[in-house]
Symmetry: C2
Subunit: 210 residues, 2 copies
DNA sequence: ATAGTTCTGTAACTAATGTTACTGCTTTCT
DNA sequence: AGAAAGCAGTAACATTAGTTACAGAACTAT
């Protein structure tokens, strides 16, 4: 049931009865397969998603097609860019893609605006999420500025392992290169270096984070 | 007068009479000299500033003392990190420094919380500012990921020229290096390159952006 | 099983950035 | 004017990252 799921993953929103009732009334739960693009860069925001199960990735795209992973959307979170972009009625500056099959509460854009006006609790939720994601961006900038790619790569692998709940990552070097905005050869070289340093173990199609 | 200043730079907050009155009642205007640190990394937020005149810079500090410029606070803006950090009652993750002598409306932290609760307009203001700064961070990440330092440097110089309202920047290579988290020698080399490409003119202590 | 595809390893080279070391030019202070 | 301090220029080298070009390993499908 959606009420239980909200309680479990969105306690801030679900503990207030009126807000919870409204949310349940206007939203629906959908299931999305890995690979689904839930928000395109340049697109207008039509829904606000609340992630119940699964994982999504948010990217910044460059003009010529390259992209960088900015942060993840995990259970208990929403797409903060959708929320604030909706309020400003602007176009999305990022792209969001489902990474693992996901279950998502979907709130229509217009209804979400009503909720925001009606319930200060919603603002609290948004502020907190905003702050978390802002800090994640700060951290990306810090690493990009002061660390070499091998550090960035290792942090990425650790984060992936944590969020996916497994030390063994099923991915390819090419895929990592896309996420980090680098090239496959560079990633292969750095992964080999990390393996030699005893941080990871490489196998075909999998990386084990130690 | 503070009322006029609010009207001019913070129309979103000042057009609502009750909100404007409350703001004027609880805040005071202060003047700060260039170089003043208004928020330290790790410090708790005591005030929310509204910038009337001048310019401030916001930095992310690294463990060993290095820092990168994240974005500016210009007239009509506040320190978004102060606002959201205050709401979460956490420690600041950034450092803010006055860049040009500034005139600032200062709202005590506890009063700011009341304002936020009482006036949805305040939230609108915060959301908009948040979105703007978020996008600026996205842009920094994009440039750090996909561009070389010369591009980053040139964008920095153009931004400085715009915000300071002068094509002639009074700064040193060392100072730029601090802002961009690089070394003086690298910046000197790249500046010389930009000069050869006809983008800027270098003189002792000044850089003219063409 | 074998042919095709995808993934990985790696060498060799280029380009970009960081580091070290030193020189000379300005500005400022007395 | 002369000394000191701060600023800029630059060469030489080291390290890191990106690119090109293959080769071989491992998986997939018929």
């Amino acid at each position: 049931m959606i009420a239980e799921a909200l309680h479990q993953y969105f306690p801030k929103l679900a503990t207030m009865p009126a807000l919870r009732q409204d949310l349940i009334a206007i939203s629906k739960v959908i299931t999305l397969k890995a690979g689904t693009v839930i928000l395109k860069q340049g697109e207008y925001v039509k829904v606000i998603p609340l992630m119940l199960q699964g994982l999504a990735k948010v990217f910044k795209e460059e003009e010529n097609g390259n992209e960088v992973l900015l942060y993840y959307i995990k259970p208990g979170e929403s797409c903060i860019m959708s929320v604030t972009t909706l309020l400003r009625n602007g176009a999305s500056k990022v792209k969001a893609v489902i990474e693992e099959d996901s279950e998502i509460v979907v709130i229509p854009a217009d209804k979400a605006l009503e909720i925001a006006r009606k319930y200060p609790k919603w603002n609290e939720f948004v502020y907190e999420l905003f702050n978390v994601k802002f800090e994640e961006l700060l951290n990306v900038i810090k690493i990009l500025t002061f660390s070499n790619k091998d550090i960035r790569l290792l942090e990425y692998l650790k984060k992936e392992a944590t969020l996916k709940g497994s030390k063994i990552l099923h991915t390819t070097h090419q895929h990592i290169a896309y996420d980090l905005g680098s090239s496959r050869e560079v990633i292969s070289r750095l992964l080999k270096k990390l393996e030699n340093e005893g941080e990871i173990i490489l196998k075909q199609g999998t990386i084990e984070v130690l």
